[in-house]
Amino acid sequence: MVAQNFRHALFCAFITLIISYPILGLNLEARGVSITLTGAETQTYVGIALAVVIVFLFQLFRPAIMETLGQVKAINPMINREPMPQEKRVKFERFALILIVLGAMFWPFIASRGAVDLATLVLIYIILGLGLNVVVGLAGLLDLGYVAFYAVGAYTFGLLFQYYGFSFWMSLPIGALLAATFGFVLGFPVLRLRGDYLAIVTLGFGEIIRILLNNLTDLTNGPDGIGGIPDPTLFGMEFGRRVKIEGNTSFHEVFNIPYDSAHKVIFLYLITLILAVFTLLVIRRLIRMPVGRSWEALREDEIAARSLGLSRTAVKLSAFTIGAFFAGFAGTIFASKQGFISPESFVFLESAIVLAIVVLGGMGSQLGVILAAIAVTILPELAREFSEYRMLVFGAAMVLMMVWRPQGLLPMTRVHINLKKQEAGVTDHA
């Protein structure tokens, strides 16, 4: 046992050496046209040696170390607590949601401009997370190309504005509906697929949309993107210093207050908040409706669901379409917030982040998704102090999270639908 451990540790240390030495220890220097290979500074060599020793010691004493880590898990105060009874949990979740929404309403009036801007981004991710939650968390269809629908929403607004001068409010429903149409269309080829195969097809779809946007230069301006996308207006009132589009008035002139650039940020934030709450309520309602239960039935057991007369086609398509609809929503807001969109904003990483939000939050749980969206967006900002190690800290936090709480921040509370004995009719603990 000990000998085996020792051999294993030696092997790991060796691997560390052969990986890190060429990468860190050797430098390529260009001198004119020729390139020479030089060694690194002594400091780097010491660092590499140190890393090798650490890996060696860790692997040698791994059983002991892992045991200590296991005890750390026991320190976690949440671990031994009795799970809350169902009714209490549902009440708690509702209470927490109301509290978050109320807090969010007052946020722009107490926070700085930058904080409000960041909060708008958080809200966009919340909408995305809630939408993907329908597809992944409830219907159990692993979608890695969710960003495509986000892009469709954003580009719908961008293009409609560029060619036809559509405003934010006109584009919002169109963008969402067009994204939903794309979701519906994508639904067809993936009907028969499950799990890994589905993930690969959706991944491909996400890339197709991005590459199309990149290469349809005549239409989308390719990698240069579309700029000058207008902000939302309030009943024809603009929030800029000067009115850009004819026929509009400006907010500060109508209300006769001095111009403040923060107005625009706050207004956009509030619109996003309203849309996020709208998303939350609509999906919350859907989950309690038969369509929501059919999503869950399909996730739990496809054959059983079909044996009860549920149509696989209808259930999957509805999940994809509704998920895509809200991504289109988020995309339109994003385009308006940034004022500029390019295919760069819709890379695979975005899909991965939204998926991480859903998984971190606890599949299917709405409160969990909201908390995870806040965490995933804020954490990299907080970690700015660590400058270049920012993403490393972020990654480490995710790994630890999955080790300690694999079920997510707040695992889904299953909604009970109780049939009353006395009178007909359904009560649900919404």
């Binding site: 038969p290 869950e296 044996s307």
Partner: protein, 233 residues
């Protein structure tokens, strides 16, 4: 009630059923027995429309359902208890039953649920338990109960005794015979030939995609070939 006329079913190029004809009359219990790979499950799946028969006809209550989509067939009065029980593991017993009543009105769901609880008092005790945490026998009861929630004229059971203890199997077969008393036609597919034939009004023996024998349950039990092949001599 259910008539299969000269059914051929293919998986890709492979023909699994070579012209099978079966008839089930209203109020009967009909058992289909056969060895592994004989095509029992294929036959059931053909009734459900997945895969669809490549030739021949499936008639249910006089209506041709051969090429109807599965979802529509399953809503037309046939219920199936799939092989291996297939309850929704993460849902509670009650929620499982409600899924069975997905296409019926709320009052009706309540009524059928009370009825299922009457048939299976055990399920009532466990109504708030997650289905995945129950024993195999209880899950089988739940699967049957869930199928009953669809208010079927006919119920198809695919290997209900699979992986259950002998005592539980006895219980399950008692339940199946009580279904007949309720006026539900039963089509039972089993490897446990002895129990299945004892219970059945009529039986079919399926061998490599063809019906080999067809007779009353008692006659098949007494048949020497059947005894040799399926009842251990």
């Amino acid at each position: 009630m259910l008539v299969l006329e000269n059914i051929h079913t293919h998986y890709g190029k492979i023909e699994a059923l070579h012209g099978v004809s079966v008839e089930i009359k209203k109020g009967e219990i009909v058992s289909l027995i056969g060895a592994n790979g004989a095509g029992k499950t294929t036959l059931l799946m053909t009734v459900c429309g997945d895969p669809q028969a490549s030739s021949g006809r499936v008639l249910f209550q006089g209506e041709d359902i051969t090429h109807k989509p599965t979802a529509q067939i399953m809503r037309s009065g046939i219920a199936i208890v799939p092989e291996g029980r297939r309850v929704f593991p993460g849902l509670t017993v009650e929620e499982n039953l409600h899924m069975g009543g997905f296409f019926t009105s709320k009052q009706e769901v309540r009524r059928s649920q009370d009825h299922v609880f009457e048939l299976f008092p055990r399920l009532k005790e466990r109504r708030n338990q997650r289905a995945g945490t129950m024993s195999g026998g209880e899950q089988q009861m739940l699967a049957i109960g869930r199928a009953l929630m669809t208010k079927p004229e006919m119920i198809i059971l695919d290997e209900p005794s699979l992986g259950l203890a002998p005592l539980i199997i006895k219980q399950i077969f008692e339940i199946i015979s009580s279904l007949r008393d309720e006026g539900i036609t039963v089509f039972l597919v089993e490897q446990n030939a002895k129990q299945a034939l004892k219970l059945a009004d009529r039986g079919y023996v399926l061998e490599t995609g063809r019906i080999r024998l067809e007779d009353s349950g008692a006659n098949l039990l007494a048949n020497e070939d059947v005894q040799k092949a399926y009842l251990g001599g």
